[in-house]
Structures are given as C-alpha cells and as structure tokens.
C-alpha cells in the first residue's frame, strides 16, 4: 500500500516552494491541541491546584527537571519555553497518528498522520535546535570562546568537531523521523491486513493493539529524547566546562 502526499507545487508562484498540505494540517492540529491543553490548564489558576492545572504543573516540573539534569537552572531557565514547546508539540504530533489515519482512497493521498513521520518536519526542528545552540553559544560565551570550543580538547580534532555538528543535526532529526515513520508503516500494514477479511482482522487485531500501545511508548520516549538532546546540545555549547 503506497501512500502519496497531497502536495501543492510552487505555492504563491514561487518555483520550488512546494507545500505538503497534510503536514500543514497535521502540524496545525497538533499545535492547536497543545495550545488548548495549555490554555485550558491555565484557566482559573488557583493556589491550590486541581485537575488540569495539576497536570500541567506536572509537565512544567518534568521539563524543569530535564533541563536541570543537563545544566544549572539559572542558565537553563531561558530555554524552558523552547523545551516545553518542543516536547509538547512533538509528543502530541507523535500521538496524532496512532488512533487512526485518513487516506484518500482514490488518489492514495495520506491526509491524517503524525507530522513527525515526515523528514522535512523533523529536520526542520533539528536544524532549528542546532541553530539555536550555535546562536546561544555565541551569545553567552562570545565568539572567541565559541570558536575555541572547536579546538577542544585538542586542536587536531577540529574536523571531527565540525562533522559532529552535522551528525548531531542529522541524527536528531532522523531518529525522530525513523521511529515515527516505522510506526506509521507498520500501522498501515496492520490496517491493510485487518481490512482484507475476517481472517485478517482476527490475525491483525492483537498485533494492532500491541503495536498501538508500543507506539504510544515510542512517541513519548522520542519526544523526551528530542527534548533531552536539545538540552544536552544547548548545555554543551552554553556552559564553560573547561
């Protein structure tokens, strides 16, 4: 079962400015959900938290702890917004593709899926994160210190240090994409088997449930890993560890 993407070519008449509509929609949905979670949690705030506020405070503490585990909170406080947005957006995106999928059966265009199962999206986030690490590295340590970091611990590792930056970017984006893409493929296959007949439905039912459960696990873990690595890379660039 090969799925196509609903692509609009040359948007606004700009050559090469293609848009994957499914990504756009799913990202918007994910962002809306995240915003709603945050917005409704923050409605009528109380000193004695209850319900949603409690849950969101738990998330805040969780992000805080993750940041604190890589750098001291005084430095890490400015990255809190980045961290919580990345975590929630990726987590919700990962979860979106699990319960169902919407496919246009005539054109085989896949409309509803995890936006993070698209390498363009994950690489965008990865590049953004790496760019931010460089930005904050220069901003907080100065150009000289930032540049010197490439000659550490010994100068001849300079090529490796440069390669590392690209490798970090690539692995950060591709790890997320690979996990989520595999999840989508297997879900698609299981759905295909399940839809093929009664026997198929019986055979695919239990693996489907198991895989969906595992997908939730993968989705949560990958969101956490993305957050963790973001903070690790940031702390690597921002802290003077020498």
């Amino acid at each position: 079962m090969q799925h196509e993407s609903p692509i609009v070519h040359d948007l606004f008449g700009i050559t090469g400015f293609h848009v994957n509509l499914s990504n756009i929609i799913m990202l918007t949905v994910a962002a809306l959900i995240v915003f709603c979670i945050g917005f409704f949690s923050a409605r009528n705030l109380k000193m004695k938290p209850s319900g949603m506020q409690n849950a969101f405070e738990w998330i805040i503490d969780f992000i805080k702890n993750t940041i604190s585990s890589t750098m001291d909170w005084k430095t890490g406080e400015r990255f809190f917004g980045l961290g919580i947005t990345i975590f929630l957006l990726i987590f919700v995106s990962n979860m979106l593709g699990i319960p169902f999928m919407i496919v246009n059966s005539e054109t085989h265009e896949l409309w509803w899926k995890s936006p993070t199962a698209d390498p363009v999206i994950t690489m965008t986030f990865a590049v953004m994160v790496i760019f931010l690490t460089h930005f904050y590295g220069v901003k907080m340590k100065g150009v000289k210190e930032y540049g010197k970091d490439y000659l550490r611990p010994v100068p001849f590792l300079l090529p490796l240090n440069i390669i590392e930056e690209f490798a970090n970017t690539l692995t950060l984006g591709m790890r997320l994409f690979g996990n989520l893409y595999a999840k989508e493929i297997l879900l698609t296959l299981l759905t295909g088997i399940g839809g093929a007949g009664i026997l198929g439905a019986m055979g695919a039912g239990i693996p489907m449930i198991a895989w969906q459960a595992f997908s939730i696990f993968i989705g949560a873990i990958q969101a956490f890993i993305f957050l963790m690595l973001t903070m690790v890379y940031l702390s690597h660039k921002v802290l003077d560890e020498h």
């Binding site: 293609h18 918007t28 949690s41 805040i60 363009v120 999206i121």
Partner: protein, 163 residues
Amino acid sequence: MPEAIYWGDVVFSLAMFIILLLLLRRFAWGPIMNVMKEREEHISSEIENAEKHRKDAEKYVEEQRLEVERAKEEAQSIIENAKKTSEKQGEDIIAQSRAEAERLKESAQADIAREKEQAIAELREEVGSLSVMIASKIIEKELDEKEQQQLIEDYVKEAGGRL
C-alpha cells in the same frame, strides 16, 4: 519519502513553532509558573510562620513549666512554714500552760503555808489566852501577875514547840 525538500513545510513549521511558543508563554506556562512561584513563596512564608509559632509555643511552655515549678516550691515552703509555726505554737502553749500550772501550784502552796502560819498564830494566841484564863482560875491566889505571865509564856512555848 519526499523527492524534494518542501520549503513551504519548513517555513510553515518554523512559523507554527514560534507562534505556538509565544502563545504558550502568554497563555499557558507563563501564568502557571507565576502561580507556582507565588505558591512557593507562600509556602515558604507559611513554613517560616509555623516555625516562629512553634518557637513561641515552646517558649511559653517553658515559661509555664518554670511558673508551675516555682508555684510548687512556694506551696512546699508555705506548708513547711505552717508546720513549723504550728509546732512552735504548740510548744509555746505547752510551755505556757506548764509555767501557769507551776505558778498556780506555787501560789497555792504559799497560800496554804500562810494560812497554816496564821492558823498556828491564832491558835497559839487562843491557847495562850485560854491557858491564862485556866491558869489564872487555878492559881489566882499564889502568883502575882508578872510571875504568872512568865509562867504562861513558858508553857505556851513548850506547847508551841510540841505543835
């Protein structure tokens, strides 16, 4: 897999991310974190208050304990004082009554002695005059008055010595 990079997606996801970040800061974790900070401060101040109250309470308890201790000591001393005074009073009373009794006895003895003396003197006189009367009746004629008197007195002395 995409056969080309969809720059539209890149631009859109970046924009979406930044907008979401700003919105979340404005509406979600910004206010919640403020509340959390407020609560933290509130809790720490409450803890401080509680600590202070506890210290105060301990101080008061200590004060009360000392007060009770002192009251106990005072009560003890009062009781002891009372005991001592009562004992002393009792002894005084006994001594006084003893002295009184002694005095009474002595005065009674003195009275008795005096009465006795008086009675003896009276008796002696009585006996004297009686003897004189008797003797004068008996020996009226043989003796003049002077010799008579001498004689009588002799007798009376003799009688008084025997008494």
